[in-house]
Assembly symmetry: D2
Homo-oligomer: 219 residues x 4
């Protein structure tokens, strides 16, 4: 049986078991843009795959955020030293050899055009929240809703959605703005995220909500 | 394409991309038994499903742990008040209405026969580590390896494996000793856990390792 | 030299070094009432000391909170089993033998008259935030300011103020509503809290701010 | 009454109340060297004060650690952008204006001669553990004991000792190897640390323990 959001029967069955309710937006959203860095977007790197449609959708969400005054937080990864990740990480994920701090692979993709007032957080694990100050930055700005975009759906996106949910934030995943090197992992993760952690919705719907909640009209 | 550990082609492809290495056991394992409570094992409860084979496998792992002097930590859930979980949790998971502290559904299943020196941790979210003192208890006992059993594979097992991995513990998931109400979610989660977080292995292999590492011969 | 808020010269010197700024209230305060339990208020218990003036001040703050619709969160402690605290805790603090879950010493003092919708959090360490779901509950309610009352100034109050500060919450300590078994510890802790973590202010000023920010007029 | 470790009467009284037990070393210590950076050691910087004796003692502990194969973890601070610290931090601590990432003030003091395999962690708050991956690095190396040196006693040293204690690590503070710009804050903090969190002991005693536990003879 296909484990995906296209499987309506499965969605209905989950609903009868008490999963998959709608959380919706709160009052003050922020964008959390996970690992929109060269390495994850370059098919010639272990980490990477061709994701130009996803990148376009991410750029569209970022544009709407800037237009509506919605704060944006970026993450990337990067260990100063292989030992920093620890032996468990290095053994499970040999790809960690390519996650070195300061390399071109760990730099944000130029298409996101990060501005100086949009924080860049270097995270040591999949979740944007784990052992970073993201939660403090969100609390400091009174954010109650995290709109999560980036890569990869079955790894860092799911983990970040779980942390956002765990901390009590509304979490939204605009469907076209997240991607994964593996289609079956992508589909299965989106299903589980929507059932347990966050509302998966079209980019257009998420942008409409950002506009509805825009804290200030920005010309 | 099937997203499961039976899909050898997919496993091979993940391996070429730098995922799915073997972590193995460290020196000092503990069992983390997640939500082996009546509610998750009773098909008449929203949360639950028929899992008698999984329960048998869990009991087998617990028996081997006691025989080898391996510490066991149990978790369950239970909110004192619906408001405690917060509105985001309540909306996404209407099943939360059945997760009330102290109800029979949240009690450990009698088959696990918890002993007084085996801690029971009441966790507020999927991961056994999130906002609980599990990490402190593991550090206090010098544990470096968590053997994770219980329910549900695509929810609390995956989340606990992710936290164990994030904190630097070796994580092992004995395959027959974890279960999920949904077969496709179970298969997809096991694949992702093995690729990214923990070694999925047969119960027999995990028990053999507990015996090899047994801190004390116990008659 | 006296290490206390009465030492104006010391306060001035700290100010010249870049400490002790005023944080003030944000928009949505909550009360965090730390360990207002029998054990800490009973001079016949190891933990305790005579604190009736402090208790009166706490009750006054709680009254103002209820009057203004300000949420209240209570904490206490209590280990199910001595091993749960871990050997380091037990050795450093032999008083832990009296911190058993469910004993009269760990019950809230009846004077606080906790209501059903005021959460009670059982914390395993000094800070009300460490390994508890307090931060999730605060985020869930959109709180940006924590008004910290209770016991003991040099232990759990300081630790809770530090966590609140670390997470980005405004933190306020109403001076007469915190107490400590040891006067010199109380004075030194209040100085350091005010210099580094939270605004220490008279109860009357804190209550005036609760009234100014009252989310709803409550008759 | 003087709040300091020299006040024997006060120590005795604390002991009768169940505080101030001895924790001792575990089996596998590491050094956690907090903020031994130019800014804290330069009296011409807001943060700083003259601490050459403290620096000598720190260097002595580091030397003994290297000689005995004891791992060393360094921290410093440094915000990429003032907004990163958040408004609460910036208001309470105007000194934060001098805590900019990558400035000479935030560089480790050259006397510590950090080696490539000694991690440097940039922390956003007083505790070396808060929102950093220090706990993961300690777990990854099987550490059970943290020997905490550096600056400042009443701020980052106390906070780090509290976190180490909270996580279940043995914590040791070698007395001459921690310093504070303010003598009364230093004395009061050492008293509270010893009563509640860590064993305060002479540098010579801590070094003797490192030698006793040396994992490998290193020529």
């Amino acid at each position: 049986m296909e484990h995906s959001l296209d499987n309506q029967e499965l969605r209905e069955w989950y609903k009868t078991r008490g999963f998959g309710g709608r959380v919706g937006f709160g009052q003050r959203p922020a964008i959390v843009a996970i690992d929109v860095a060269r390495g994850w977007l370059d098919p010639d790197v272990d980490l990477g795959s061709a994701q130009s449609d996803v990148l376009d959708a991410i750029v569209e969400v970022l544009g709407a955020a800037r237009e509506t005054g919605t704060p944006i937080f970026f993450t990337t990864m990067g260990f100063s030293d292989p030992a920093e990740a620890g032996p468990v990480y290095a053994r499970k994920l040999p790809l960690s050899a390519t996650q070195t701090a300061g390399t071109p692979e760990m730099e944000l993709h130029p298409a996101v055009q990060r501005r100086d007032d949009e924080p860049l957080i270097v995270k040591p694990r999949a979740s944007g929240f784990f052992q970073t100050n993201l939660v403090t930055q969100l609390i400091s700005r009174g954010i109650d809703t995290t709109v999560i975009v980036g890569l990869s759906t079955s790894g860092c996106i799911r983990a970040t959605a779980e942390s956002a949910f765990d901390y009590g934030f509304h979490a939204i995943v605009p469907q076209e703005a997240v991607g994964d090197r593996c289609p079956s992992a992508h589909a299965a993760a989106l299903f589980d995220i929507d059932a347990r952690l966050a509302d998966v919705m079209p980019v257009a719907d998420a942008i409409a909500e950002l506009r509805r909640l825009a804290p200030v009209a920005v010309s």
